[in-house]
């Protein structure tokens, strides 16, 4: 079986985010990009399925800073082929970006048909669209998202487990090929030693694929970006660890919680 995994880079929100001079976007000078966490889960799930069904895993990602490292790491983890789609505008929204991937990838030699397309069910910058549904609609195949379990039952059917609130899970049957929006994989993403990534860098190859279509213009105009204004922020407790712990104890005591 052949599995296509779509990855993308997103800002690392552990770092400080700054608004650019235009007032409507992030200052890219300060930005550190990391792989979208749920996309990483999608890759892990694909690798688990590969081990189970002796398939191949192809990873595709739009060009972005640091994406080469992510693609080489994917090779080191067990992906068979990695593609970088170039010529995409950095500021492109999720919808246009996913649309371009879906328009470009079917023309890549020896890639399609695929049995499954796995991607994260959401990213923190999905302001104007979700990659999975956009790609599924472009390819004319079904979509199911927020998936945490995936078993391939036959060449044309997969059994999926989908999350609801309160720990409830829905069991689904989906016709293949399908696009699946992954929330979590069966296991946390596997660790690969840096030496193995270096080996992948030395022997592996990232295929550059020029975007095969023009991006659709976004219908969503961002008129302002800023830090959220909140009515009331937390009262911050400062001092050394002992002082902070003492103050927390005081607060708990005052509420009858100790």
């Amino acid at each position: 079986m052949k599995i296509l995994v779509l990855l993308k880079m997103v800002p690392d929100v552990v770092e400080e985010l700054e608004v650019a001079g235009d007032g409507v976007s992030l200052d890219r000078g300060f930005l550190r990009l990391i792989i979208n966490e749920r996309d990483e889960n999608a890759l892990e799930q694909a690798l688990i399925l590969k081990e189970r069904h002796q398939g191949t895993v192809v990873v595709a990602a739009p060009e972005a800073p640091e994406v080469d490292d992510v693609l080489y790491t994917a090779l080191a983890r067990g992906a068979d082929r990695v593609l970088k789609v170039t010529g995409l505008d950095e500021e492109l929204g999720s919808r246009a970006s996913a649309g371009l991937l879906a328009a470009t990838l079917p023309a890549v030699p020896d890639l399609f048909p695929v049995d499954l397309v796995l991607t994260g069910c959401q990213a923190i910058d999905d302001l104007d669209g979700l990659a999975g549904p956009v790609v599924a609609e472009h390819l004319g195949i079904p979509y199911l998202g927020i998936v945490t379990g995936l078993a391939v039952a036959s060449s044309n059917i997969a059994h999926l487990s989908r999350e609801y609130s309160g720990g409830v899970r829905g069991r689904f049957e989906v016709d293949l090929p399908a696009v699946v929006g992954i929330q979590g994989a069966e296991k946390p993403p596997r660790y690969v030693p840096i030496a193995k990534v270096r080996a992948a860098m030395a022997s592996g190859r990232i295929e550059s694929i020029p975007a095969g279509a023009a991006a659709e213009a976004s219908l969503l105009d961002v008129v302002e970006m800023r830090r959220p204004v909140v009515a009331e922020r937390a009262e911050m407790i400062t001092g050394d660890a002992d002082q902070i712990a003492a103050r927390i104890c005081e607060i708990l005591d005052g509420r009858g919680l100790l």
Partner: protein
């Protein structure tokens, strides 16, 4: 924008979700501001009785079909897109929940309409609609203006109260065709409820909740020791569950439990909207996170921008001192 405002009435396992009333409250305000009708869209099979509680809307469009008995985005989005292509509403409000997530993603693509996602508010500005959206895990807010005949808005739960969306008025219900039977490429087989046996975190007075900042399972002992001292239980945000540190029954947030303890101690949790949704109504929230800009401090009552691995051992010592005194 002359078309009506539509609200997707979220129905799951035969009941309407609370978020439906939040969206009706928001929808009412927008529709009145634009001077257009507010219509609720209800999909299901044999659930027309639910329409009676949607009286804040001027009317209810009810599409009935066995394939819509449970919300499967693949089917529901097809039906709503077909209805919207004909009726041309100006706005469609869809809740950002696990139940409606697939429909939210598919509907704008199938309808060829714009999507504004992660909305915390939608307002009428100069006769048009403007939304405020929380992006980058709640660290930034953007104001956006959608273009086109119909705009789909993904609205975060908890953005406003549900009371304004409830009414005893009985709305006019119009049955609409569910369209051609879907191909059935996605089939719901059944639901699995979580196994009982573990701690029920919704019943705890005190929750010590851990996130990515815990750094590793080995540090879970600290949280457990503190929870035990305080007479509470350990819960966690999504990363703590994904990393396998805690079972899914301990998860707080969109995919997990909604909790309202007397004390919610958020340790190493950034406060993404999906998490905040599940704990924001806690009586007392104290957050410890190294990032002073973390959104968790926007909902916490008290905060410390420090490493939990330094604060928790000190807190354990202090609590022991107090308890021993």
């Amino acid at each position: 924008m002359a078309g009506a405002v539509w609200v997707l009435a979220e129905q799951w396992r035969g009941a309407l979700s609370d978020v439906t009333y939040e969206l009706l409250s928001l929808g009412r305000q927008i529709a009145d501001g634009l001077g257009v009708p507010l219509e609720a869209v209800l999909l299901g099979s044999g659930v027309d009785g639910l329409a009676a509680s949607l009286g804040v809307a001027d009317g209810v469009l009810y599409a009935e079909d066995p394939s819509l008995a449970e919300p499967v985005g693949e089917h529901g989005s097809r039906v709503v897109a077909a209805l919207a292509a004909e009726a041309k509403p100006g706005a469609i409000l869809v809740p950002i929940t696990n139940v409606s997530w697939d429909l939210l993603g598919l509907l704008p693509v199938r309808l060829g309409a714009v999507l504004a996602n992660f909305c915390s508010d939608v307002q009428v500005v100069e006769g048009g609609l403007e939304a405020r959206c929380l992006v980058f895990g709640g660290k930034m807010e953007v104001r956006v203006v959608p273009r086109g005949e119909t705009a789909v808005f993904g609205v975060l739960p908890g953005s406003r109260g549900a009371d304004g969306g409830r009414s005893t008025r009985v709305p006019e219900v119009r049955r609409v065709a569910a369209g051609a039977a879907p191909a059935g490429r996605v089939r719901l087989v059944g639901y699995e409820d979580p196994e009982a046996g573990d701690v029920d975190i919704t019943q705890q007075d005190i929750l010590v909740s851990v996130g990515r900042g815990l750094q590793g399972e080995a540090n879970l002992d600290l949280a457990e020791e503190l929870a035990e001292l305080l007479g509470g239980a350990v819960a966690g945000s999504r990363p703590a569950i994904d990393m396998g540190w805690l079972p899914v029954t301990r998860q707080v947030g969109k995919s997990g439990m909604q909790v309202k303890p007397r004390l919610y101690l958020a340790l190493g949790i950034s406060g993404a909207p999906e998490h905040v949704e599940g704990m924001k109504d806690s009586a007392l929230i104290i957050a410890v996170n190294t990032d002073p800009g973390a959104p968790i401090f926007n909902v916490a009552h008290y905060g410390a921008a420090e490493d939990l691995l330094e604060i928790v051992p000190a807190l354990i010592d202090k609590v022991k001192e107090r308890k021993g005194a």
